[in-house]
C-alpha cells in the first residue's frame, strides 16, 4: 500500500518529468553539436555541407530550448486545468445589431468547441424580438476548456454595416463576455463555496390557486446568494427543477470565479507586484468586417482573416497567442519578484 507521503512524492516525480525530458534533450543536442563541430572542417565538401546543415538545425533546437522550452517550465502548473467553462455573453451598445453579433459569437465558440472536442451547449438564452440574442449562457465541457477560454472575458467590438442599415453606414456594437470556471454538482469542492442557509430561492411568477387549477408552464426561478448579493435567474428549461439545477451551477461558477480572482490578488499582494489586471469592462478585441480583420488589443495581434476567426480556426490562433502572453507575464512576474 502507498502512503500519503508516497503519493506526494510520486506526484512530484510526475510533475518533474517534463523538466527531466527538457534537460535530457538539451544535453543530447549539446553532445551532438560537439560531435558535429569537427566535421565542419572535413576535407570532403559533401561531408562539410551535411555537417553545416546539421549544425544550424541543432543550433536552432538549442535556441528553442533556451528561449521557450525552459522558460515555459518555470510557469507553475495551472490549478484550473481540469475545469470546464461557462461563458456568459451579454449584448452591449448597438441594440439589435449587438444581438445579431452575439448570436454569431455563440456559433464561433460552438465551432471552436467542436474542433477541440469539447461539448458545447447553450444552457440559457434570451432572444431579441428583432432577431439575434440579447444574452446567452454557453456551457463548454472538456479538459482545459476554462484555461483556454478564460482570456475571452472582456468587451468584444464589432464594426460593420448592419444588414438593416440602408444608408451603408458602419456601426460599432459590443458584446460583453465573462468566462467562468464550471463547477460540477459532483465536484468535491462545492461544500466550501456556499451554505444552503445563505441562499434565497424564489419562483418568478404568481400562479394563482396553482396545482390542478393551472397548467401554464411557469418554471422560472431566481437564486440570491445573500453574502455576495449574486443573483441568478433561469427560465430556459420547462421544468422548475431543471432551472433550479442550472441556476445553482451558474452560482457555483460565479463563486468559484470570485475565489480564483481573490487568490490571484492575494498572491500578488504578497509579492507587492503589479501585474496587468484583467478588467472585464476592457475592450479586448475588434472584429472589423469592412477590413476583414480581427485585432486583439491586449497583445496587439491582428489577423487579416475574419471569416476564419468566426469559423473557429483563426480564433484558436488568438487563444494560443493569449496563452503564450499569459505565460510570459507570469514569468516576468516571477523574475521581478525574485
Amino acid at each position: 500500500m502507498s502512503s500519503p507521503e508516497d503519493i506526494t512524492r510520486l506526484k512530484q516525480l510526475k510533475e518533474s518529468e517534463a523538466l527531466q525530458a527538457a534537460w535530457d534533450e538539451w544535453i543530447e543536442t549539446r553532445q551532438l553539436l560537439e560531435e558535429t563541430s569537427p566535421l565542419l572542417d572535413d576535407p570532403d565538401p559533401t561531408m562539410r555541407s551535411l555537417a553545416s546543415d546539421e549544425y544550424s538545425s541543432l543550433t536552432n533546437t538549442l535556441t528553442t530550448t533556451v528561449e521557450s522550452t525552459f522558460p515555459s517550465l518555470l510557469v507553475p502548473a495551472s490549478t484550473t486545468s481540469h475545469l470546464s467553462a461557462l461563458m456568459e455573453l451579454k449584448s452591449g451598445v448597438g441594440g439589435s445589431e449587438s444581438s445579431l453579433f452575439l448570436a454569431e459569437l455563440v456559433r464561433m465558440y460552438q465551432r471552436l468547441a467542436n474542433v477541440n472536442r469539447w461539448k458545447a451547449e447553450v444552457v440559457g438564452q434570451n432572444d431579441n424580438e428583432g432577431g439575434g440574442t440579447k444574452d446567452a449562457i454557453l456551457e463548454i465541457k472538456g479538459l482545459g476548456a476554462y484555461d483556454a477560454l478564460r482570456w475571452e472575458s472582456g468587451v468584444h467590438r464589432v464594426q460593420r454595416v448592419p444588414a438593416t442599415e440602408s444608408s451603408g453606414r458602419v456601426h460599432t456594437s459590443t458584446v460583453a463576455i465573462v468566462v467562468l470556471p464550471l463547477v460540477e454538482e459532483t465536484d468535491a469542492h462545492n461544500e466550501e463555496l456556499f451554505k444552503m442557509d445563505d441562499i434565497k430561492l424564489e419562483v418568478m411568477r404568481a400562479r394563482g390557486a396553482g396545482g390542478q387549477h393551472v397548467n401554464k408552464t411557469e418554471s422560472a426561478v431566481r437564486l440570491t446568494h445573500i453574502p455576495t448579493g449574486i443573483t441568478v435567474s433561469m427560465q430556459d428549461e420547462r421544468s422548475q427543477h431543471q432551472n433550479r439545477r442550472r441556476a445553482f451551477q451558474v452560482l457555483r461558477s460565479r463563486l468559484m470565479d470570485q475565489k480564483i480572482t481573490r487568490e490571484i490578488a492575494e498572491r500578488r499582494a504578497a509579492r507587492t507586484n503589479l501585474v496587468r489586471a484583467a478588467d472585464r469592462s476592457e475592450k479586448i478585441r475588434t472584429y472589423n468586417f469592412a477590413q476583414e480583420r480581427v485585432t486583439d488589443h491586449r497583445i496587439g495581434l491582428t489577423l487579416m482573416n475574419l471569416t476564419s476567426v468566426l469559423e473557429g480556426d483563426g480564433l484558436q490562433d488568438f487563444l494560443d497567442a493569449l496563452r503564450r502572453d499569459h505565460y510570459e507575464s507570469v514569468m516576468e512576474d516571477m523574475l521581478e519578484s525574485a
Partner: protein
C-alpha cells in the same frame, strides 16, 4: 425568422412566454419527438391547448414523461412535493417499501419515487378509473425503464397498475390487485370544487379530464374516500406515511380528516414554491 408565429402566440400568452414556448416547440421538433409543424403547434396553442399536450412531454424531476389528452398534466407543485418526500425517507433494498398511489394519472408520483430511490427499495401500485390514464402510466413506466415486476437477480423498483375507483365504498375489499399493508400511500386526487371548476382557465377545463379535476361540490369527496380507506384496518403498516396533494385552501380540512381516522398520530402541512399549502403528510401510529 418566425416573427409572424411569435406575434400570433404573443397575442394569447404575452411576448416573454411566447418566445420561451416557441423555442421549446422548435426544440421538440428538432429532437424528432413530434412530426407536427411549427405553425400547427402555434395554431393549437393560440386556440388554448396546453403546451404539454402539443409537445407531448413534460419534465418531472429528472424524468421526461409523456403527456396525452385528457390525462392530467403533471404540475410543478406535485414535482416539488414528491422530490421533498423522496428526500425525507430512506428506504433500502434490505427494507423495501410498498406504495399505493390513488388516482395515478400519468404515473408521475410513483415513477419519480421509483427513479429516485435505491434499486430494489420500492414496489408501487397505482389505480385509476380512466383507461386512458392507465395506458399512459404504463407507457411512461416503460419509457422510464420501471418494470412491472422484478424478474432478474438484479434488484429493481417496480410499478403496476389496475383499473379501479377508490370512491366506491367497496374499495379496497373487492380489489384483488390491492395487497395491503402499505408503507406509503400517495395521492393527487381531483380536488377542485364545483364553483371553482366553472372558473377554470379553458386550457384546463377544455382539455384535461374532469374526472381528474372535479372533487365534488365541496372538492373534498376524494379526501373523505381516502380517510375511509386509511381507517380500514390493516391497510396501513405501522409508521406508514400518507402524502396527499390538496387544493390551495384545503390543507387544514384534509389534515383534520386524516386525524379523525384514528390511525394517524402526527401530521404536517408542506408549502409549495408559490407559498400555498399544498401537501398534507400524515404519519400512522407505530
Amino acid at each position: 425568422m418566425h416573427s409572424r408565429l411569435l406575434a400570433q402566440l404573443a397575442a394569447h400568452i404575452g411576448t416573454d412566454q411566447a418566445s420561451l414556448e416557441l423555442r421549446w416547440m422548435k426544440q421538440a421538433l428538432s429532437s424528432g419527438l413530434s412530426n407536427a409543424t411549427l405553425s400547427t403547434m402555434v395554431k393549437r396553442r393560440a386556440l388554448g391547448e396546453p403546451l404539454q399536450y402539443i409537445l407531448g412531454t413534460q419534465p418531472f424531476g429528472p424524468l421526461n414523461l409523456l403527456t396525452r389528452p385528457p390525462v392530467l398534466i403533471p404540475r410543478p407543485e406535485t414535482e416539488h412535493w414528491v422530490i421533498k418526500l423522496a428526500e425525507s425517507m430512506f428506504p433500502t433494498a434490505q427494507n423495501p417499501r410498498n406504495l399505493l398511489d390513488l388516482g395515478t394519472g400519468s404515473g408521475c408520483i410513483p415513477l419519480l419515487l421509483c427513479h429516485l430511490w435505491p434499486k430494489g427499495s420500492l414496489r408501487t401500485h397505482g389505480i385509476d378509473i380512466s383507461p386512458h390514464a392507465l395506458r399512459l402510466a404504463n407507457d411512461n413506466a416503460a419509457l422510464c425503464g420501471i418494470p412491472t415486476h422484478c424478474d432478474t437477480d438484479e434488484p429493481q423498483n417496480t410499478y403496476t397498475t389496475s383499473l379501479a375507483s377508490f370512491l366506491h365504498t367497496s374499495f379496497p375489499d373487492n380489489e384483488a390487485s390491492i395487497k395491503p399493508p402499505y408503507d406509503i400511500v400517495t395521492s393527487n386526487p381531483p380536488y377542485i370544487p364545483w364553483d371553482e371548476y366553472l372558473e377554470l382557465p379553458r386550457s384546463v377545463s377544455d382539455y384535461e379530464d374532469p374526472k381528474a379535476l372535479f372533487g365534488g361540490p365541496s372538492g373534498l369527496d376524494f379526501y373523505h374516500a381516502i380517510a375511509r380507506i386509511v381507517s380500514h384496518k390493516n391497510i396501513l403498516s405501522p409508521n406508514a406515511v400518507v402524502a396527499l396533494e390538496v387544493g390551495y385552501e384545503q390543507a387544514e380540512i384534509v389534515e383534520s380528516l386524516m386525524r379523525r381516522t384514528g390511525r394517524i398520530h402526527r401530521t404536517e402541512i408542506w408549502g409549495d414554491p408559490w407559498g400555498k399549502q399544498r401537501t398534507v403528510v400524515a404519519h400512522a401510529h407505530a
